[in-house]
């Protein structure tokens, strides 16, 4: 029972570390250049397991999931990614979060591809949610 647990933990650790981040990006105006630029930034970071990004009218919302073993430094990783993204997209209002809830919500947006008005509302809601303190 204990051994089985240890084994499954080790397996998960190995599998969790090996593959590179799953990235999904949605651009309202479908600007391939910008999408690629963001993808490169996120792909380069070895500590991410999952990332999502949404471009909308000079707004850029990015969510990150950090690999389990790097979670101790989640805040730092988030801040460094935030800086990189801000440097790459100086014209955009950049919002980065490492919260699971934000990731889920962004993934939902990417899947549903809502119309502009709804998207604007959704993003505003997300940002206020992320700002809430414990």
């Amino acid at each position: 029972m204990k051994n089985l647990l240890m084994l499954s933990i080790i397996l998960l650790l190995i599998s969790g570390c090996s593959d590179s981040a799953k990235i999904s990006i949605y651009h309202v105006d479908d600007d391939q250049e910008e999408i690629e630029a963001l993808e490169n930034v996120l792909q380069d970071n070895q500590k991410l397991s999952e990332a999502a990004g949404v471009f909308f009218d000079h707004q850029l919302a990015v969510s990150l999931q950090v690999k389990p073993m790097s979670k101790f430094n989640k805040e730092k990783i988030k801040k460094s990614v935030e800086k990189e993204v801000q440097a790459k997209f100086p014209n955009h209002d950049v919002f980065v979060s490492s919260d699971l809830k934000i990731t889920w919500e962004l993934m939902k947006i990417i899947e549903e591809r809502p119309i502009e008005k709804e998207l604007e509302e959704d993003l505003a809601k997300l940002q206020s949610l992320a700002k809430e303190e414990t």
Partner: protein
């Protein structure tokens, strides 16, 4: 009889606490409670507008609710005898301390019994949590004001 030599006799003969076994059951019990907490926080995040950070509040409240049911039905003390610290250290243990005292002192009425005795066991946790938070923050505030570290 000499107290010292007697204490040696007692140490030799009294049954030892099964520390290893207790640690294992504490690990199992505490682990399961925390895993349930994690699942509940996922539920709050998935179905309600809570982030990882804010979901911990309703999760704690839900865990204490579960502790109330288990305490009232008499299961929590069974879990406690099995799990030891595994059931005492999680917030459910805090809830159990508060709720068991409340139930116990119901016979003295709701003001002098329940109200006055509710924190008989758990009060120490709040008192020293608050006091140490005060000291820690005070030291940090002073250090920040002197300079050298930042928040």
């Amino acid at each position: 009889m000499d107290a010292n030599t007697y204490q040696q006799t007692v140490d030799q003969l009294a049954p030892k606490r099964p520390v290893l076994r207790n640690c294992f059951t504490a690990f199992l019990t505490g682990g399961i409670i925390c895993a349930i907490g994690q699942l509940i926080s996922f539920v709050y995040m998935y179905f309600f507008p809570f982030t990882e950070r804010t979901a911990s509040n309703p999760t704690v409240a839900t865990m204490i609710f579960i502790a109330m049911i288990l305490t009232g039905t008499g299961y929590y003390k069974k879990i406690g005898q099995f799990g030891g610290a595994g059931s005492a250290v999680p917030v459910t243990g805090f809830g159990n301390a508060v709720i068991s005292a409340a139930i116990e002192h119901k016979s003295e009425g709701f003001i002098l019994g329940v109200g006055a005795n509710m924190f008989k066991l758990a009060g120490a946790v709040i008192v020293y949590g608050v006091f140490s938070a005060f000291i820690v923050t005070l030291i940090k505030t002073i250090l920040v004001n002197i300079g050298g570290i930042s928040w």
